[in-house]
Amino acid sequence: MFLALREMRRAVVRFGLLVAAIGLLVFLILFQQALQDGLLTSFVGAIRNQSAPVLVYSVDAQRTLQGSTIPPELERQVRGAEGVGRSARLNQSTFTIRIGEEGDSDAAIIGTDDQELVRPTTLTAGRRPEREGEAVGSDGDFRLGARVAVVGSPGVRPAEVTVVGLAEDLQLSVTPTLFTDLDTFRAASMAVNPGATAMLPNAIAVAPADGASAERVAASINSVAPDADALTRGDAADNSPGVAQVRQSFQVIFLLYGLVVPLLTGLFFLIITLQKAGSLTLLRAIGARASVLAGSLLLQVGIVMGLGLAVGVGLFYPLSRTGVGGLSLRFDATAVLAWSALLLGLGLLSALASLRRVLRIDPIEATSGPGVR
């Protein structure tokens, strides 16, 4: 084994380059995994992490909350569908907001007339809203107690919202998000568009009646209301526009990166095994067992992969604490471990060709031939 380690020390540039390449690839894979997770969470976190089991959009909205409008007749059909227990109106829009002396920014506000049915599932700080003008905000975007002014039309007094609670992964469309009651939402809308008369709900949130499943209720609503698009919470998040495209795009990227790592490792060890074939034959001739040589090879592969993984994770970790372009990234230990195990496995597998070469070395060739058949 000490020969394996000494060889690595004496050819530090070559092994260093391999470690660097693997490290960069691991970093790219982990970064893009975090980017994918962050993108999906920021796109649809507010849908996935709210409590209503079923959301009903208008079919024309193509599963976007802001683009959906539920006219009174459709609302009546939804509320009357079999299996519908509790239901609530839901409105969402994007507003220009200002917090204290900070500049203007965008925020999505989601308002509902039943904050028991539609609320963030888990608070990380503070409490739920209890009166008009209070809201739960996406953490990372708001601080507890912040007074958020919704910038209105010229000459119109801004609507005010106080952040009384914070929740994780609550963004919608990569925008800071506030969950509040319908009156607060209406006040925000009127500040922007004081001439607005009627405000139709964007969606209806539904909880199934006792004994009914969310899937059955969604199917029941879709069957009685042709203009409704009822989806379970998970389906509403997974089928939001862009989500499937993001997933498919990243899968292709992961596949390509995943192929490069074992090919690179396999190529490297195959070449150096061929280069030192003569030395390996001599070692076999003076009594070194094939298993010892194979063990040395696997040790080197393991060390290179381990160092590469360490470099990749080391590069990724600080980045995961910052974020990219307003998108928060996360160091997901499970994902890091899963990728590490997969890449280590692929790296060891890639050494099979070299291993076969080593095991086929015939000691007698030391006296008569090139050493490797």
Partner: protein
């Protein structure tokens, strides 16, 4: 040089695996680039097609077309600004469209209806009559032909397609181009709460002076506008700058991986050839000549990999179902990727330079054979 090329011809097997890895990396670079171009292209094409130099939003809109409202008074103030040559209103409505005439269909296509006055590239100078639109040509892949009717929004507002225009998608959706009256009517019918009345969402301005100076003059004169150059307005569209910067970083690191792979592979080959280089030096070959051979081989292997990458990207573009992934192959992207790979190959070879130059003919010959 000739020796290097001959080795490539005679012993291609030793370069196959390196070429395979570089091919995968080339594919990655081109796929990432194509993804970036597809995302940006389908988000911004409608803006890039605009015939003006400036886009004028209302000041409170934070440069968002949807939230911007330009009143008749503001428009008059903009029109009166020195340096403004022509002006046109622009309105947009994102809405689902039913293709065909079945109002009960649950199959919708995401569209953006634009109302325009100044004709964007490829569109008739005079907007189509009310109730008619010119559609982005990507709608053809959905089976829509000239003369077909599409039904827009929950009110199923019928619009007849009278023609097609290339490369005008917006926000990842198919664009439909009609008059401001068409836009106002469809918006009022389907979004009664957002009825634009006599306002427009933005103004497209053609200038006869320096655009930046005219933009400043417009904002100063109207007091209620935020005016951007067309390029700045395109870059300010949601997500565009972030996507560009993130993808470019990933592409940069991937190119770095290509560099390291070339460095690694040719470092290994150089070690293997130390004795050979010694002999060649002993018979008069210079270090520069030997290194040029290494670079030549790296360029040929990388060039081959890049060529396969180009073919793979074109094939991917051809087989990907429309709308599955926002992937777009452009000549400039392919050329950039190939150049990036070749530069990485040359830079990667630099790692072997020291070893090639330091080969000592006498000692190398001593170890040969």
């Amino acid at each position: 040089m000739r020796l290097a090329l001959r080795e490539l011809r005679r012993r291609p097997g030793r370069f196959v695996v390196a070429a395979s890895i570089l091919t995968l990396i080339a594919l990655l670079l081109m796929f990432l680039g194509g993804l970036l171009d597809g995302l940006i292209g389908s988000s911004t094409a409608a803006y890039r097609a605009q015939p003006g130099d400036l886009i004028v939003y209302s000041a409170s809109s934070r440069e968002s077309l949807v939230r911007s409202r330009i009143t008749a008074e503001t428009r008059a103030a903009v029109e009166a600004t020195a340096g403004v040559e022509a002006i046109g209103g622009l309105g947009s409505l994102q809405v689902g469209a039913r293709l065909g005439e079945d109002p009960g269909s649950r199959e919708l296509v995401g569209t953006v209806l634009f109302g325009y006055e100044l004709a964007p590239r490829g569109l008739p100078a005079e907007p189509p009559p009310t109730g008619e639109v010119v559609a982005d040509s990507s709608l053809r892949s959905e089976g829509v032909s000239v003369g077909d009717t599409v039904l827009l929004g929950p009110q199923r507002s019928p619009l007849r397609v009278t023609g097609f225009v290339d490369d005008t998608r917006y926000s990842g959706q198919v664009s439909l181009w009609g008059s401001l009256d068409t836009w106002r009517a469809v918006t009022a019918a389907n979004r009664p709460g957002q009825s634009p009345g006599d306002t427009v969402q933005a103004l497209v301005v053609r200038t006869d002076g320096a655009p930046a100076a005219v933009a400043a003059a417009i904002d100063a004169g109207s007091g209620s506008t935020a005016t951007l150059t067309l390029a700045a307005a395109t870059e300010a569209l949601p997500g565009v700058a972030q996507q560009r910067s993130t993808f470019n970083q990933i592409i940069g690191v991937t190119a770095l991986v290509a560099l390291v792979v070339v460095a690694l592979f040719f470092a290994l080959i150089t070690v293997e050839r130390t004795a050979l280089y010694g002999i060649l030096k002993a018979v008069g070959a210079s270090g520069a000549t030997l290194f040029a051979g290494v670079v030549t081989q790296a360029l040929v292997v990388t060039g081959l990999a890049a060529t396969i990458g180009v073919a793979g990207s074109l094939a991917l573009d051809a087989v990907l179902p429309a709308g599955a992934i926002p992937f777009e192959v452009t000549p400039s992207r392919l050329i950039t990727s190939v150049v990036l790979m070749l530069v990485a190959a040359i830079a990667g070879c630099a790692f072997s330079l020291r070893r090639v130059l330091r080969v000592e003919p006498a000692s190398a010959i001593g170890t040969a054979g």
